[in-house]
């Protein structure tokens, strides 16, 4: 008889090792922060040495970057994008706008706290965060993945009602499809 607990652990280690070294990011820029992504990806900061690279479609991606302020109209698209992604999936809040509204805290059309609407694994502060900060955020995410603590997707499914309630509060006309995960 083999030890069931240990066997699972080894699989987990291999799985998370593979996961953390291939983080594919959806090519979707929501705010002004998307301008920091090209320097992060290209030769100067070269994020691909950490296994971070762009992905064209949400269904093939692992990470959703919320780069900066989120208008209510964009939030709708972001929720749709997030729900199309397949688990394991992670969300990174980028810049102070996603944390507490940043300089748009009193705007009529931008949300103030992203983690009320989507489960956020890592927040990067700054306005805007430089490519170094972005990469350090990704390394934090890799750390969380290897420790098995990046459980945003499970949290979302578990607390779906609470998230939907918050989402419906800012999106009154909810005409989106239900995705079957």
């Amino acid at each position: 008889m083999y030890n069931d607990k240990d066997a699972k652990k080894i699989v987990d280690i291999i799985q998370s090792y593979a996961r953390k070294h291939s983080l594919w990011v959806v090519a979707y820029g929501t705010g002004c922060g998307a301008i920091e992504i090209p320097p992060t990806m290209t030769s100067r900061y070269d994020a691909e040495r950490f296994g971070i690279r762009g992905s064209a479609t949400p269904r093939q991606a692992d990470v959703l970057l919320i780069t900066g302020y989120l208008a209510v109209k964009t939030l709708k698209r972001v929720i749709r994008t997030y729900e199309q992604m397949q688990a394991p999936k992670f969300v990174m809040g980028f810049g102070s706008c996603t944390i507490n509204g940043g300089m748009y805290w009193d705007s009529y059309n931008t949300i103030n706290a992203l983690d009320r609407y989507l489960p956020v694994d890592v927040f990067i502060n700054g306005c805007m965060p430089r490519p170094e900060a972005v990469i350090s955020g990704f390394i934090k995410l890799q750390q969380l993945i290897s420790e098995g603590k990046a459980e945003g997707a499970e949290k979302y499914l578990k607390n779906l009602e609470w998230y939907r309630e918050n989402q419906n509060k800012v999106i009154p006309n909810w005409n989106m499809p239900d995705y079957n995960w």
């Binding site: 109209k73 507490n100 509204g101 805290w105 009193d106 009529y108 059309n109 949300i111 706290a113």
Partner: protein, 193 residues
């Protein structure tokens, strides 16, 4: 003033044609025309066809809350002498309605759609007054000055605690340098966070 020769000629032509118009030459290449609201359509038509102001650069709106008026500003450009005319008019704020000018310029459609959404002005004759930038907006249009954006944001979106001791930039800077905020800026400075 030799330089303002073209501008003065244009101003003279306008005031000859439209007697009730208040024409001022603001500066080089900028002529401001204040008109009655029913004269805007004839004026735009005249400027486009007879004075070669063929380009509608912009239509903007100003909310004069104290006077209970909306001010509409039509910017017209002449490509030959590069003069820009700003045709201004006041409309009623309570029941804001105006004539659409999509028949003169197609691009007026977009500006009118935006003004309908942001100020609630209904442009009669515009066939595409549908939802533009805001989605599912309920309540008063957000660019009106009686719309309280701070209160709306606090009611609608969750405000994470921790901003309570955030300081107003203008007050902090003036305190540091020992200056005083001018009377005109005081209304916009003090805000309850």
């Amino acid at each position: 003033m030799e330089e303002l020769k073209i501008e003065k000629e244009i101003a003279e032509e306008i005031s000859k044609t439209f007697h009730s118009a208040e024409v001022t030459v603001k500066r080089e290449k900028r002529v401001v025309v204040k008109l009655r609201d029913d004269l805007i359509t004839p004026f735009l038509s005249y400027a486009k066809n007879n004075m070669n102001f063929i380009h509608l650069a912009h239509i903007s709106c100003v909310d004069w809350l104290e006077d209970n008026k909306f001010e509409l500003i039509y910017s017209l450009l002449n490509y030959d002498n590069k003069v820009m005319i700003l045709a201004k008019t006041y409309i009623d704020r309570e029941n804001p309605e105006f004539v659409s000018h999509t028949n003169y310029w197609d691009q007026a459609e977009t500006y009118e759609r935006e003004m309908r959404e942001m100020y609630g002005i209904n442009f009669k004759g515009n066939k595409r007054l549908t939802e533009f930038i805001l989605e599912d907006w309920q309540g008063i249009p957000p660019m009106r000055r009686d719309f309280d954006t701070v209160k709306f944001s606090q009611d609608t979106f969750y405000n994470r605690p921790g901003r309570e001791n955030a300081q107003d930039v203008r007050t902090t800077v003036t305190k540091k340098s020992g200056e005083e905020i001018p009377e005109i800026g005081k209304d916009y400075t003090v805000r309850n966070l």
